[in-house]
């Protein structure tokens, strides 16, 4: 057990971080090169002002017509995304570990705050899951991969919560927590979660096309 723990909390952390970082860079560059070759006009039409205008509108809660039409989804989606990024990055326990290994540290959130954020992520995943099952228009688009991705996102948060609160079997859970976090990180560049990398680009491009060429808003 100890060996496994050492392995997942040692070399595996490196592996997953490298896959994540290198994967993101690889996906980004290969897409940029493909665009240069096949759709070079994308570069010509990118208009920084209109791109940022569009991104800004879509990163503002209720900044678009569709967000106003679906207020519950908007609140859940925004809370989810804020928590899914902030909680792991600013968790005290994570920062301690990083400080021990690399001697760098940064600002952190209180454990209560982290607990709340974790619960928000888990609850949001449950919301997304239920929505996927009960809303026909979402169900129609759903394939097994959507459930798998949702499970991959929820797993580190559920197990992290479990471990922190020392529920039964928290040692194994701790290992699963680390492992599932690593899997999630490594999966981001190669699954639909790569939307994290490409959101600014696809949004920015359509914002440019709508704004600069068509003089219309896109929100």
């Amino acid at each position: 057990m100890h060996d496994i723990y050492d392995f997942v909390s040692g070399p595996m952390v490196w592996v997953s971080l490298i896959i994540f970082a290198a994967g993101c860079i690889y996906r980004f560059i290969s897409m940029a090169l493909l665009a240069k070759e096949k759709d070079p006009f994308l570069y010509n039409y990118m208009s920084p002002y209109h791109a940022l205008r569009s991104i800004f509108h879509w990163l503002t809660p209720f900044g678009s017509e569709n967000m106003r039409k679906n207020p519950v989804f908007t609140i859940v989606a925004f809370s989810f995304h804020i928590c899914v990024v902030i909680a792991p990055l600013f968790l005290f326990a994570h920062i301690i570990l990083i400080k021990q290994s690399w001697n760098v540290s940064w600002w952190f959130i209180s454990d209560t705050m982290a607990d709340i954020m974790t619960l928000i992520v888990i609850a949001s995943c449950v919301f997304f899951l239920i929505r996927r099952i009960v809303r026909p228009e979402v169900k129609f688009l759903t394939s097994a991969s959507d459930y798998i991705i949702l499970a991959m996102v929820a797993a580190p948060f559920i197990t992290g919560f479990w471990t922190y609160h020392q529920f039964a079997g928290c040692r194994i859970m701790g290992i699963i927590h680390i492992l599932s976090g690593e899997i999630l990180l490594a999966a981001i560049p190669f699954t639909r979660l790569s939307h994290m990398i490409f959101f600014p680009i696809s949004r920015g491009y359509i914002g440019s096309e709508f704004g600069a060429i068509r003089h219309a808003k896109d929100w």
Binding site: M31, A35, N44, N66, R135, L141, F198, I201, W219
Partner: protein
């Protein structure tokens, strides 16, 4: 899903799809699909398919979805799933029945109106994805028959309606004659080199609605414009090839159009009241010709009329006194943001403007656009059923008192007329040009 595809495919009767499909083999389908995906479906297509969160948030944007009581098969991403995703998943190894249905979905169940693009959090351009399916179908030769016929006309005559060169000139001279009965010194200047304005229209104008050319000539004359129309092919700015996915022909058409204007050394091109033609000249065709922006400034009639009224070149004698509403054509709002200019003209010429809801960039498509009405009689009822929501929107604005719909787009007229007739709405539809002509000050 496989089942629903089969059921629907069983009913396909369109001669173009059925006839084309008879010549297809799975090998050919696979080859063509992969050629298109490889040669043309670059970073955009791939990224759009990769990042789509399958969240369904685009659904409520689409009038087909709303009109079919939220049937997910008609949602934007739902249509992409039934076509693009499947094609990519199977690496092009799809059967003939599948591709027949894909042609129908892409050509007759999406107006390429781009409303959904405004509702997707990633800004995924679903219209582009479905147009890529049409492109594949074009290369496979299974485009619906009626629209393919207009594309053939474009190839043979450079206009949409098989209008011969002498017929075009005759129509203009005929309208000039008619208009001279009203304004004796009016001219429709043909081939006038160095004119300020090159005025181009769509094929159906000389064919079916020649009075629009008459009206435009009166407006040009009264406003004192230095304008011209070409006596050669290149007068038709419309483009069904853009909608069938025949991009080579689309580029040729736009080239003929721009070159006619360049030959006449005009300062700008003013286009008649058509939405898709404007899209093809201002936004799509220029790119196909590698011009970032059109090589000669292009403006839509809405903007042109706005300028004439704003600058006092046209004065209104007596405003139109029946309450009107304004239908924003997708291609002039999501395509050019002309909604406020349209309202400026409507307010300047009409006493009462009652807004329909949603409006401006968020207006619902008329159901005709994107070449859907051009797919002809086999798809007339599915088009009308697919835009029930538009009829409801019109009924609501009628209940508020609007009797006349102003729609500055030819296709919209076709689509709205069918909806009004089918739902017995008893409203009439006018172009901005109709209203201006009716209400403007004219020389005695």
């Amino acid at each position: 899903m496989a089942e629903s595809v089969k059921n629907a495919a069983a009913e396909i009767t369109d001669a173009g799809i059925v006839g084309g499909a008879a010549k297809l083999t799975p090998e050919k389908i696979e080859k063509v699909i992969n050629n298109v995906l490889k040669a043309e479906g670059g970073a955009r297509l791939k990224t759009y398919v990769d990042i789509c969160a399958h969240c369904g948030l685009c659904s409520e944007a689409c009038h087909f979805y709303l009109s079919h009581d939220n049937d997910p098969k008609f949602s934007p991403a739902g249509k992409v799933k039934q076509t693009v995703w499947e094609i990519i998943k199977k690496k092009g190894r799809v059967d003939v029945e599948f591709i027949k249905r894909a042609s129908e979905i892409a050509s007759t169940e999406c107006n390429l109106c781009r409303r959904c693009v405004m509702y997707c959090p990633f800004g995924i351009d679903i219209a582009y994805l479905l147009l890529t399916v049409r492109r594949i179908c074009h290369k496979l030769g299974i485009t619906p028959q009626y629209i393919q016929d207009t594309a053939h006309s474009h190839s043979a005559t450079a206009n949409q309606m098989w209008v011969k060169e002498d017929e075009w000139i005759d129509s203009l001279m005929w309208q000039e004659d008619e208009a001279r009965a009203e304004i004796p010194d009016l001219r429709i200047p043909l081939e006038k080199e160095g004119a300020d304005i090159f005025y181009s229209v769509i094929g159906p104008e000389p064919k079916f609605r020649a009075q629009l050319i008459y009206q435009a000539a009166v407006i040009m004359h009264v406003a004192g414009m230095n304008w011209t129309m070409p006596a050669t092919p290149g007068w038709d700015n419309s483009d069904m090839c853009m909608f069938t996915g025949d991009f080579e022909m689309m580029a040729r058409l736009k080239k003929i159009h721009f070159e006619s204007a360049a030959r006449l050394k005009v300062k700008k091109i003013v286009m008649g009241e058509c939405g898709h033609a404007f899209r093809s000249v201002h936004d799509v065709g220029n790119r196909a010709l590698s011009w970032k922006m059109p090589p000669i400034p292009v403006i839509h009639a809405i903007e042109f009329y706005y300028e004439l009224i704003r600058d006092g070149k046209i004065k209104i004698a007596k405003k139109f006194d029946k309450p009107v509403t304004f239908h924003d054509p997708c291609n002039t709002v999501r395509g050019r943001g002309l909604h406020e200019m349209g309202r400026y003209v409507a307010n300047a010429t009409c006493e009462t403007l009652i807004e329909m809801h949603p409006n401006r960039e968020h207006n619902y498509c008329c159901g005709a656009g994107g070449g859907v009405i051009n797919c002809g009689p086999p798809y007339k009822m599915s088009r009308i059923d697919g835009d029930k929501i538009k009829a409801e929107q019109l009924a609501a604005v009628k209940a508020k008192g609007a009797q006349t719909i102003i729609a500055p787009c030819h296709n919209c007229h076709g689509g709205l007329e069918d909806l009004i007739h089918h739902h017995k709405l008893d409203m009439n539809i006018k172009f901005l040009g109709d209203i201006i002509y009716e209400t403007m000050e004219k020389p005695e």
